[in-house]
């Protein structure tokens, strides 16, 4: 019986060994960790370490670590919303209620709250940074890799080399 018909396949090129065992070319990992609450009274705020590791060519620095607070995330979100074509995922809520006086707990400085927020921020920034369009935005690069965010920067795209 002829079985050439049943097993006729398209020819595909053979994968090289280097390709087969190469590390993924799109490695990107962003951790939001080590929340620290600074200052007292009205000047009190919490910031987080945003640590990035990647091998994506679009990022010039492959490993970076900066500290960012909630308002910085808000800034990033609004920049992307305005400049990029992508649909920007939401941030965790502002927790207005928690900022009212006369609470039994620590309000927005409560440990559990900070941990929840940290997780959400981590999810948020990973979603954004993983988007190929967002990866071109200058604001994202600044957010992830510059020690200080210059909010008067000139928005624009970063061209992959």
């Amino acid at each position: 019986m002829d079985n050439t018909e049943a097993t006729r396949r398209l020819h595909t090129k053979k994968q090289t060994l280097d390709d087969a065992y190469a590390a993924p070319a799109n490695f990107l990992e962003i951790d939001v960790i080590n929340p620290i609450t600074h200052g007292v009274a009205k000047k009190r705020y919490t910031d987080y370490e945003v640590r990035m590791r990647t091998n994506l060519p679009v990022f010039k620095i492959k490993e970076s670590s900066v500290r960012r607070r909630y308002s910085d995330f808000e800034w990033l979100r609004s920049e992307l919303e305005r400049d990029s074509k992508i649909v920007v995922p939401p941030l965790p809520g502002k927790a207005i209620k928690r900022q009212l006086p006369f609470r039994n707990d620590d309000g927005i400085y409560d440990e559990d709250f900070i941990e929840d927020r940290r997780k959400s921020l981590e999810g948020f920034v990973n979603k954004i940074a993983g988007h190929p369009l967002a990866q071109n935005e200058r604001c994202l690069h600044m957010f992830l890799q510059e020690p200080v965010i210059d909010k008067n920067y000139v928005p624009g795209k970063i061209r992959p080399n």
Partner: protein, 1032 residues
């Protein structure tokens, strides 16, 4: 899928990596899904106006092109139609779809279906719809849309339902319009509105129940895929597995029912649904394995049925093609394998093609876990089907295939599995790496099974193994650059293939070892290999064959390659290198037992390696120190002979590289080994060499650390060394050699310092005395024996003098006395002079060094006893010594000591002898009485009546002793006086006490004896008469 269409395929915006979301498939239309779409569309293209492809996510209405920013020629029409569609959507849902060409709105992407539909199939309107979700859910849209079955029971509630239908159809999707009261309507409700909806139903008392709990789950009855591929926490695993297993159970049952009714198509559908459970990403490898096993069990039924059905070979090809249309790749490929196996079994001549096709097709699953299990299934199903026939076998036809095809099949499967296994390492967050590596360990057997299959092919001969099998495996192993995989697979190779082929391919294998990842513990692999070959060698030997075929220089190969590996891996910890040397030594012992030089060669190369890392002294507690220690102990324990070790010139040199503690530990091991095996050392050269190795136990070392050493431990070590000295024994006939050995040892031990020589010199001295006696025994044969004995005694004298110098007193004193005794027994020319010298040294020591009264008494006792035995002195030498003794006795500090010492000295005048008397006792009764008198006087000077009484009772016995021996200067009166003294004077003074009772009893016993002797006078004449003894 959406990069796989053949219109400007692979020109950007797609990936060559199978794991990428934008993977292009490797070739245009490489996927069966895209091919089906292509064929379907091409069939109807000329009647088609619009092509719509629906995607998530982002609210876009996209037009071609994806490959270029240029717009299609009919863009204006495309745009117009899109605007009208989007307007309608906005009117219904309030959504705001963005319109534009995909390159301009999103990004470059080549090979999407809309580009091909327009450019390839020529459909005028082609659009890609990105649905409304804007990132909350991303690519995976929410699943919890529910369908309610609602019945309005009265007019009011019916009106409400109609109102909802008319006004809120943007939210509520009525699948049927409400027609009248009591009519049942189906409504699909989005998750955000379920609560409001139910509230309304409750408020108006409508009858309802949830018809479909989760719409998406119904449409696609598969476990939800999670994008990141992350698995659920442990506590969910059991639940997930149970759910999956229950689906399997249900579907399997239905599959079997359909088979019973001979409804094959329905059975396949159920099988496919069952297999769909294997698509999950939520299970841990362990749970996935359980699920896989359950499913494999059920698939066997299918295979049995198909085998029965298609026994004649008819229609199998159709079925093989048919299952390729199964909806999802996982069920499709499992079914393809199952049917393929039936195909081969029912049609032998299809074997080669089908096998090749199956192993190629499994490439379609690139998810590591799923792919590994799929390929494992392939391997299990085909295990008895591979064409295991030699190439020249007449049965191995073109279409049946031969062993080369079998090897190709397994090797391709192996390389694919290895790839998936290695890729697993990159899945998920790097912080979970440890857990991932653990899971990969659990899966290693799946990959290793390939190697087992290769080993099971009977038709693979050494030649094929050498040329194809091994190079093929090693290529994958080396290229994968993954430590975990490499370590396991290299060991796997060793374990699954027979020893004979290893022997033939050592070079290749070891060369690959040098190329492994730096994290791989190469030494572990090599140690395992050496162990195995050594064991093989031993077995061969037991069968009476040479351990290793002579044409294979096993040892040289290993030792060369270990050198190469060390060179290729400069970062390898030196202790691992040494552990390789350990295994080399073990190999030498077991396969080349007669070649001691090989062991030395290993030691030499160890030395070279140590030179390279430039370590002066190796810390004993370091890993390297421990390995070196192991290395050095191996020959010790193997040969069980210190002397054999001396044939290894580099042993000592390696030993010297250890720090003090290390050297000492090995030295102790050596000594214990020598003692246990009674290894005698027979030449002076050996003594020097051995003692050199034991140096840390013999004398102070520049790098020693003795602080904190336990005094008891030290004494124990030194006692071992003392025992060691007794192993210095030349041949019985070669006394001169023995002498030389002793002098050598003396030189070494002499350097041991004041703490050690008290342990080590005395045994040397005793050995020397023994040697002198031996010379005396063979005096007839050696005319120089007297000279030699003299030399020996000079040697001993020096040794003892060294102890004196070390500010010791009692020990050298005793040794001097021993020396005198030894000299007196060996009658050579100057022996009396020598003995006298020794005695006089002892006396000098006594006077100068011993000041403690107890020690003085003990020493004096010894001296008296020695003098009594000494028989070589002439009267001229003997007399002064005796009187000196008496003098020293009365010079003792304490009266009781004086008394007792005098009693001892009295004996000298009675039983010692001189040269002139020729061995007869002196019997100087007068001098004896003098001594005893003096002793009695000293006793009465004691103030304590108890002590006095005790001493006098002792004296009574001495008097009786000499009286009985026939000393005529002693009379019954002396005895009577003493007894009465005790009875009349002393005892009444004593209070009743234990002491008094003891004295009375002692005296009583003496009296009893005297009474007996008085009342039973002896008949012989030489015993004196006891008449006149007063006892009461």
């Amino acid at each position: 899928m959406n990069r796989n269409f053949d219109f400007h395929w692979d020109e950007g915006g797609s990936s060559d990596l199978p794991c990428a979301e934008t993977y292009n498939g490797g070739a245009a239309f490489s996927e069966i899904e895209s091919r089906i779409i292509r064929d379907t569309i091409l069939g109807i293209a000329n009647q088609t106006l619009v092509y719509l492809t629906v995607h998530s996510y982002g609210q876009y209405w996209l037009t071609p092109w994806g490959y270029t920013a240029d717009l299609p020629a009919n863009y204006d029409q495309l745009y117009d139609l899109a605007v009208r569609a989007v307007d309608k959507l906005t009117a219904v849902y309030g959504t705001q779809y963005t319109i534009g060409s995909s390159t301009n709105v999103l990004y470059v992407n080549t090979g999407p279906s809309d580009d091909w539909a327009m450019g390839g199939a020529g459909i005028p309107y082609a659009y890609t719809l990105e649905l409304r979700d804007t990132g909350k859910y991303g690519f995976e849209l929410p699943a919890e849309y529910q369908v309610y079955q609602v019945k309005a029971k009265d007019r009011v509630s019916f009106d409400v339902l109609v109102k909802l239908y008319n006004e809120r159809s943007d939210v509520y999707d009525f699948w049927t319009e409400p027609r009248y009261v009591d009519f049942t309507t189906d409504v699909m409700v989005p998750p955000a509105f379920t609560k409001t909806f139910v509230d309304v139903l409750e408020a108006f008392n409508m009858e309802y129940h949830i018809k479909i709990d989760d719409v998406q789950h119904t449409i696609i009855p598969m476990p939800t895929m999670s994008k990141s591929g992350s698995m659920s926490p442990l506590e969910d695993q059991d639940k997930l597995l149970d759910e999956a297993l229950s689906v399997v159970k249900v579907q399997a049952l239905q599959m079997k029912r359909c088979l019973d009714k001979r409804k094959l198509m329905d059975a396949l559908k159920h099988a496919s649904t069952m297999l769909g459970e294997l698509r999950t990403s939520l299970l841990s490898p362990k749970s996935y394995y359980e699920l896989y096993m359950a499913i494999c069990d059920e698939l066997q039924h299918l295979e049995m049925y198909l085998l029965d059905e298609f026994q004649n070979g008819r229609k199998v090809a159709d079925l093989y093609e048919l299952v390729q249309y199964a909806g999802n790749i996982i069920p499709r490929l499992y079914l393809l394998v199952t049917v393929g196996v039936v195909y081969i079994k029912t049609n032998e001549q299809s074997r080669r093609d089908i096998l090749r096709d199956l192993v190629e097709m499994c490439r379609g699953v690139q998810h590591p876990l799923r792919g590994l299990f799929l390929r494992n299934y392939l391997l299990q199903c085909t295990r008895n089907l591979l064409p295991d026939l030699a190439e020249n076998d007449p049965l191995a036809t073109e279409s049946y295939g031969n062993v080369r095809d079998a090897v190709d099949f397994i090797q391709l499967n192996f390389s694919e599995m290895n790839k998936l296994w290695v890729r697993m390492a990159y899945q998920g967050h790097s912080r979970d790496k440890e857990r991932r590596e653990r899971e990969r360990q659990e899966l290693r057997l799946l990959v290793g099974t390939n190697l087992v299959r290769l080993a099971q092919l009977d038709s693979v001969d050494v030649e094929l193994y050498k040329k194809v099998v091994l190079p093929g495996i090693l290529e994958q192993v080396v290229s994968c650059r993954d430590a975990l995989a490499q370590e396991y697979l290299m060991e796997c190779i060793i374990q699954v293939f027979p020893d004979e082929v290893h022997l033939d391919t050592l070079h290749t294998y070891l060369k690959a070892c040098a190329e492994l990842h730096t994290d791989v513990k190469v030494h572990v692999i090599l140690v395992a290999l050496v162990e195995r070959l050594a064991a093989y060698g031993q077995r061969q030997q037991a069968l009476g064959q040479p351990p290793i075929p002579p044409h294979i220089p096993l040892f040289d190969i290993f030792s060369d390659q270990i050198g190469n590996i060390a060179q290729a891996r400069p970062e390898m910890p030196s202790e691992n290198l040494v552990s390789l040397q350990v295994s080399l030594i073990s190999l030498a012992f077991r396969c080349y037992p007669e070649k001691i030089n090989l062991v030395d060669k290993v030691l030499e190369s160890t030395l070279v390696a140590l030179d390279k890392i430039a370590v002066e002294k190796v810390d004993f507690d370091s890993a390297l120190g421990k390995e070196l220690n192991r290395l050095l102990r191996m020959p010790i324990s193997h040969y069980n002979s210190l002397v054999t070790l001396l044939q290894l010139p580099h042993f000592g040199q390696v030993l010297q590289r250890l720090d003090f503690n290390g050297r000492k530990s090995v030295a102790l091991h050596l000594v214990n080994n020598a003692l246990d095996n009674e290894t005698y050392i027979t030449t002076q050269e050996h003594v020097d060499a051995v003692l050199n190795m034991l140096a840390p136990l013999i004398c102070d070392q520049p790098d020693q650390v003795l602080t904190g050493q336990d005094a008891e431990d030290f004494a124990e070590e030194q006692n071992l060394m003392a025992r060691m000295i007794h192993l210095l024994a030349a041949e019985d006939t070669d006394l001169d050699q023995q002498y030389r050995m002793l002098t050598s040892a003396r030189k070494q031990f002499g350097a041991g310092g004041a703490r050690r020589i008290p342990f080590t010199l005395p045994p040397l001295i005793y050995e020397a005395f023994k040697l002198a006696r031996k010379y005396f025994d063979v005096r007839q044969e050696d005319e120089l024996w007297e000279k030699k004995c003299e030399k020996i005694f000079t040697f001993c004298h020096q040794c003892i003098a060294a102890l004196v110098k070390a500010e010791l007193a009692e020990l050298p004193l005793r040794l001097f006395l021993q020396g005198a005794l030894a000299a007196s027994q060996i009658i050579f020319g100057t022996h009396e002079t020598l003995a006298y010298e020794f005695i006089s040294q002892a006396f000098t020591l006594y006077e100068e060094e011993i000041s403690d009264s107890k020690a003085q008494f003990a020493a004096l006792t010894l001296m008296a006893a020695s003098l009594e035995k000494l028989d070589c002195f002439s009267e001229e030498n003997s007399a002064p010594v005796r009187s000196k003794c008496a003098l020293l006795a009365s010079a003792l500090l304490r009266k009781p000591d004086q008394c007792r010492a005098l009693i001892l000295v009295s004996n000298l005048f009675w039983s010692s002898t001189t040269k002139e008397l020729e061995g007869k006792p002196m019997r100087d009764g007068k001098k004896v009485l003098e001594c005893l008198r003096k002793a009695g006087k000293v006793a009465t000077e004691c103030l304590d009546p108890g002590v006095q009484a005790q001493l006098i009772v002792e004296l009574v016995n001495v008097y009786v002793h000499f009286f009985h021996q026939g000393n005529q200067h002693i009379t019954v009166t002396h005895i009577n006086e003493l007894i009465s003294k005790v009875r009349q004077d002393l005892l009444p003074q004593l209070e009743n006490s234990d002491e008094k009772e003891l004295i009375e009893r002692h005296l009583g016993a003496s009296c009893e004896m005297l009474r007996h002797r008085r009342d039973n006078p002896s008949t012989t004449s030489d015993t004196p008469s006891y008449q006149g003894i007063i006892l009461d």
